[in-house]
Symmetry: C2
Subunit: 370 residues, 2 copies
Amino acid sequence: MDHTDGLARAGTLSIHDHTVETPVFMPVGTAGSVKALPPDDLAALGASLVLANTYHLYLRPGAEIVRQAGGLHRFCGWNGAVLTDSGGYQVFSLQDLRKIDPDGVTFRSHLDGSEHRFTPESVVDIQCALGTDIAMVLDICTPYPVDHAVAAADLEVTLEWARRSRLHHESVASPKPALFGIVQGSVYPDLRRIGAQRLIEIGFDGYAIGGLSVGEPKEPMWEMTAVTTAELPKEKPRYLMGVGTPEDMISGIGLGIDMFDCVLPTRNGRNGTAFTSRGPLAVKAARYAADFSPLDSDCDCPVCHRYSRAYIRHLFNAGEIAAMMLTTRHNLHFYLSLVRRSRRAIAGGEWADFAGEFLERYRSGAAEET
Amino acid sequence: MDHTDGLARAGTLSIHDHTVETPVFMPVGTAGSVKALPPDDLAALGASLVLANTYHLYLRPGAEIVRQAGGLHRFCGWNGAVLTDSGGYQVFSLQDLRKIDPDGVTFRSHLDGSEHRFTPESVVDIQCALGTDIAMVLDICTPYPVDHAVAAADLEVTLEWARRSRLHHESVASPKPALFGIVQGSVYPDLRRIGAQRLIEIGFDGYAIGGLSVGEPKEPMWEMTAVTTAELPKEKPRYLMGVGTPEDMISGIGLGIDMFDCVLPTRNGRNGTAFTSRGPLAVKAARYAADFSPLDSDCDCPVCHRYSRAYIRHLFNAGEIAAMMLTTRHNLHFYLSLVRRSRRAIAGGEWADFAGEFLERYRSGAAEET
């Protein structure tokens, strides 16, 4: 770690020829593109690490096309770093279309119904073919709510798959991605502890906390995060998967999380909700029709520099794609800026003050009052 | 004119604080945004003059909102010049929803069915409220095919409205937009000549040729263009409305046209057709799945510099908005580059060679052969 401040950490991830400062927010680029924001625009916002989805890229365009292109970076024209998820989350979301066995999971494509199979080993191979920088192990993302017994059984499979993933990863020729393990265990502290300890025994380049932000209340979510991070080695990066709101990121950073991903800034951007320093703003609302102030008057992003709420509202009302583009840009800037400012606050030993001030202003709801 | 080469012209339009070099292509920004390309991206492509639609902006967000914002440039965050059409074309396209009388036209909004009225004077006022740089007179865009008698009657109304527009424009306080007249007359040379001569008698800052590219064959379209430009004063800009393909722009420039607008580069960009130096390319086609070359290997645009046909095809297949954004950017670059290169060729006295070489390569269809 470069700096710590309480449990909060500021670190540097070096992966292949990429350097990623943490805490980091990873924009979600499911199919090799962050929605409504091509890679060069994403780079212009200062994003350093993007999340891509193994399941989606495996089905379309196919790992072989990406491999032929020279990997995801070349294929997508993206010069930053890439983390690919394992596809487990997507496959297990298919519900009726998938069948788990101890060796892996068989599923049908949501695109054409064709049958496919993921094993811990094949998922490592696919991510290697994609040329990712950070690969995730195949895991079972236990749904919420779930009995302790089911969560424990899922965890056992996840741990066995993690062992096999690591073993297979060791056999892959370099250059190869870093490999992260994923702690499961639902909302049961004992399972989370066991999950973390046994992954550490196997040994990974980083540790993710999975199976949270899947419908459980905030209290167990943060309890599980705290229980898990307490077990994790201080020198390895920690990734809280699928989290979250700006407030969630503050909470997560405060508990020692280094990495986040979430669709909120992009999805909400397309739906017309802007994140601002004074809380979310529903820019389509009629009250902004003649509001010529920027989305966030405290924001230094190119969108707030140039465009008004009235203009962006008009673009949404007129069904213009530019509305989604501009709000997505702003929202991602907001998220990326939040983690950058968090890092500076941690480095300066001012984390608690920064977090408190951010939350107070964010929760004031003043964005909607103008 | 800065240069002429045969009938082809290279000029400079100075409007308010904007300088526009001609020949110029105006991207179409109907509702105050070029589709899938926000104003800052459009500026980055080197566009100097954009077309916005009076009818659309009048209905939504309303001229008053734009006026309150300080005009279209301020409202849209666009630093270049703006030409607004008169709304005539859109209103007359409404067919069952509009009724023409000698004084103006009453129509129902395509958005909510509400009743509105445009007169030559009100349309000048609306464009002044929008803060445009170049305003167009209200005209009757005669459909094709049409009898000589109907075309002549429409022309009479258009000319009377032009006279009233000019008179009203003179009464407007400065700063005010330049005002262009529009020559109608369908495919009848005598009407086109009369239309041009009488507009010249009234006196405008520039002259547009309207009512072409509305379904007539190419031959009368170019005959009418030639007949009309022969009448027009050499020192005033000439605008061929709604034209056209890259080949059309070459033809138009060769006949002394200075200004063009067309939805083709943007609409086709959203539909997956890229304009290239070797002809159009349907980038969604399966044959590009593993084609890692750029849309156009002779193109120096940021899209071709960074992204491959395979990637853009993948984005279209995955339904990613970025596909439309990237292909729109490329297509507009292609159009803007074509008029810039045309200008250089005219200035260098090499217009005929340039036009011939462009057309030979463009018509080769080689883009689809790789």
